[in-house]
C-alpha cells in the first residue's frame, strides 16, 4: 500500500491522489534527482523542468502543475521513464496530467490539444488516420495556414497524401469505443 492511499480519507482528492488512482504511480516516489530533466530531449523548450512538475504535485501546488506548458511539451519518448532510478514512469505521469487537465479544462497549449483532437476525430470517423483531413482540420483550428505549404504539393504528387479518407468497414465498432472512452 502506498502512502498516498491514506489521502483517500481526505475530503478532497488532491492531484496526487487523482494521478495515483489513474496510473498507480505514487508521486512521492520521485526523490528529485533530476535525471529525467537531464536527459529530456525537449528540456530546452520547457520553462519548468519535468522534475519540477513532479515537485509541484508533491507539494500540492496542483494548479501550477496542471498549467505548466511542460506537460504538453513532453514528446513521450520515454527516455526519462527508462533511466529513472526510482522506476517512476514520468511519461505516463505526464499523460495523466494532460488527461486531468483536459477534464478540468485547464489547457495551456490549446494548439497541441487541437492537434490531438483533430487526429482522433479522423480515427473516430474513418477508423484510420487521414492525413489530409487531419492537416486541414488542424490548420483551420489553429489558423496556422502556411506551415508545410511547400511540402504538401510534393506529398500529394508522390501519392503520400490522398484527398479522400480510406475508411474501415466496421466503423461502428470504432464509434462505440470512442463513445465509451469519452464517457469515462
Amino acid at each position: 500500500m502506498s502512502s498516498h492511499s491514506n489521502a483517500k480519507h481526505k475530503e478532497r482528492m488532491t492531484l496526487a491522489d487523482e494521478i495515483e488512482e489513474l496510473t498507480g504511480i505514487n508521486p512521492l516516489k520521485c526523490y528529485q534527482c533530476g535525471k529525467c530533466s537531464a536527459g529530456c530531449p525537449v528540456r530546452i523548450f520547457m520553462k519548468v523542468s519535468p522534475n519540477k512538475v513532479v515537485r509541484l504535485v508533491q507539494l500540492g501546488l496542483d494548479d501550477e502543475a496542471l498549467k505548466s506548458e511542460t506537460i504538453w511539451m513532453c514528446a513521450g519518448c520515454l527516455t526519462c521513464s527508462t533511466r529513472c532510478p526510482q522506476n517512476f514512469d514520468l511519461a505516463k505521469f505526464m499523460d495523466a496530467l494532460k488527461e486531468i487537465a483536459i477534464k478540468k479544462g485547464v489547457i495551456t497549449r490549446k494548439d497541441i490539444l487541437k492537434f490531438h483532437k483533430a487526429f482522433l476525430k479522423q480515427i473516430e470517423a474513418n477508423g484510420k488516420a487521414f492525413e489530409f483531413g487531419l492537416i486541414r482540420d488542424y490548420k483551420l483550428a489553429t489558423f496556422n495556414l502556411f506551415q508545410d505549404m511547400d511540402i504538401a504539393p510534393e506529398m500529394f504528387f508522390k501519392g503520400k497524401i490522398k484527398l479522400f479518407p480510406h475508411k474501415i468497414k466496421n466503423r461502428d465498432a470504432i464509434k462505440k469505443i470512442f463513445d465509451k472512452a469519452n464517457k469515462e
Binding site: 528529485q32 533530476g34 535525471k35 529525467c36 537531464a38 529530456c40 523542468s49 522534475n51
Partner: protein, 665 residues
Amino acid sequence: MMRIGVFVCHCGENIGKTVDCPTVAKEAIKLPNVVYSIDYKYMCSDPGQNMIKQAIAEHKLNAVVVASCSPHMHEKTFRKACAQAGLNPYMCEIANVREHCSWVHDNVEEATKKAVDLIRMTVERIKFNFPLSEIKVPITKKALVIGGGISGIQAALDIAGAGFKVILVEKEPSIGGHMSQLSETFPTLDCSQCILTPRMVEAYQHPNIKLYTYSEVDNVDGFIGNFKVTIRKKARSVKENLCTGCGLCVQKCPIKKAPSEFDEGLANRPAIYVPFPQAVPNIPVIDRTVCTFFKTGKCQMCKKVCGRDAIDFEQKDELITEDVGAIIVATGYKLYKIDKKSKDAAVKGYGEYGYGKYKDVIDGLQFERIASASGPTAGEILRPSDKKQPKKVVFIQCVGSRDPSKGFEYCSKICCMYTAKHAMLYKHKVHDGEAYVFYMDIRAGGKGYDEFVRRAIEEDHVKYIRGRVSRVYEKKGKYIVKGEDTISGVPVEIEADMVVLATAIVAQPEAAKLAQTLGIPYDKYGFYAEVHPKLRPVESSSGGIFLAGACQSPRDIPESVAMASAAASKALVLFGNEMLEREPIVAKVNENTCVGCFYCKKVCAYNAIELKEIKDKKGNLVKVVASVNTGLCQGCGTCNATCPSKSIELIGFNDEQIFYQIKAL
C-alpha cells in the same frame, strides 16, 4: 508431589491499580498443587526476593510461579533468587500480568480474571517443568579471521595482542585489501599505504598470527567454541619456504600484458607476479590462466632464473584443517561494475554512461590508482585513453546506489566522501583543472567529514551540481555530460575530459556461498546480517561468528576498524571463559520412537541434527536415528513441530507443558 508457590507482584501501582492482587493471590491458592501464595508490592526488590527464598525453604516449594512483569524483564532475576534458595532455576516461571494484562486493560474485574487465568495456565505448565542445568561446552581459544583487508588485519592484531592465536586467511596473494589500493584517505588526506603497510608487516610478523594468503575457507563444521575449519591453500606454484622475494622471476617473465588486478586494469603485470611492491608476503604467484608454460608446456623462464629453485609447477591446492573457537568474517566488498549487463535482470547496467565503452569513463578505485603515487601514472593525473592531463573532470555519484531501477536501493555510504576527496586530489594536482561533482545529497555524517566537503567546495572550488546525470557520450575526444542542476532548474552540459563514476559498493560475489558455509544469514544483496542492528551490530546470529567491515554493509575505514576491534573483543569475551554456558533450551530425541525420517534435519537452520546409529549388543545396526548437537541447537523447536511421531521435543517448551497450558484455558 508438586508443591507450587505463587507470588503476585503489585509492581507498585503498575499491576496493583488494575489487577486486584490480593484477590488473585487468594484465587491462586485454590489451584491444585499450589501450597503457598502471597502478594507483595515489589517482588523484584530485595525484600520481595527474600520472601520467595524464605517460602521455598519454609514451604518446601519445588516450583515457583511469579506473576509480575514480562519474563523479558525479570525472569533472570527470579530464577537467580530461586537458585540462591536451592531451587533449580528452571523450576521458576513467570506469568506476565503487567505488560500483557494490567497495562493494557482498564477494567479491574476483567484484568483480575485474566491475571488468575494467566497464573492458572502457568501453574499447569510448571507441573511439567523439570530441573535443567546449563549446557557447558569447552572453548578452543583460537580465532579464525577471514579476509586480510584492514578489518581483518585489525581484528587479528587485537586478538593476537591479547595473547591468543589467530589464523588469518586471505584469498588474494597479499593481505592489504582495498585499502592498499587507495591513494589518500579522507578526511585527513594521509597516505593510505603509509598507514597500512606497518600494520600489514606487524600482522605478518606477529608470533600469534598464522597467515594463509592465496587461501580460502572451504568448509566449516562445529559450533561456537568448537569450529573445525578447512582452509584451501591454493597452488601458488612458488615454494614459500624457499622464495626470498628477490623478484628476478617477475622481471624475466616474458608475459607482460596480463591486466593488473591491483591497478584495476589500468596497468599490466607478468604471469608470475607480486600484486604490488609492498605486498605481504613478498612472494610471487603464477597466474596459471596466462602463464605460457601452463598453456603450452614451454617456457619455464622463471624456473631457470630462480636461484633457490622455488618454482614448483606441480604444486597442488592444499587442504589444511584448523580448530578454532571463534570466527571473524571480514571479507569486504566489491565495486559494482556497471558495464556488465548482468544476467540477473535486476541489474540492467548503465549504457547511458558508456562505462566499459569509453576508456576515460572510470570508476572510483581506478581513480585511486591514477591518483596514487604507486599507481600506473606515478600519481600524475592522466586520463587512460591518451595519457593526457584532463582539464575538466566530472565525478558522478550514486551510480548503482540508491537506484532500485538499475542497481540497488541502498546508499553506498562512502562515495560522498571519497568523491569529495577525489575532486580535491585532482584540484591539488591539476591547479588549472575544473572538477564537477554531480550528487543527489551529500552524506557526510562523520567526524570532520562535512568540514572536508565544505573545504572541497569553498577552498578548492569543486563545483557541486545537484542532479543525476542522464547521459555521457563522446564527441571529438570530449565526453559530453548531460545533467540538470535541480536547485536552479537549469540544464547543464559539460564537455569533460574524463568522467569518474562513484559506483555502488556491493557484496563480494562469493558472499552468499561463504555465508552458507558458515551458516550465517545475509540480506538480499549478499551483505551479512547482524543479529541486532543496534545492540549487537558485530555478531551474526550464529554463536561465535562475528562480523567486521564492509562485508556487513558499506563501511569506511574508521568504521571498519572500529567494527574489527569490536568483533575482536567479542571473540575475547568468549575466550575469557574456560567453558561456555548455554541455556538448556535445546531439542532432545526419543531414540526409542525415532524412525529416522529426518524431517527434523530438513527444517533445522543450524545443522544441529546429526545421524546416530543404534546398534544391538552384538554390534549389528538396528536403525539410524536423529541426534541433537546441543552445541549447535538454538532451541527454536521447529523440529518438534515438524516431527510426525513427536520423537523430538524441545526441552523447556515441550508438548506437555504447552498442552496443559492450553487445557487450563
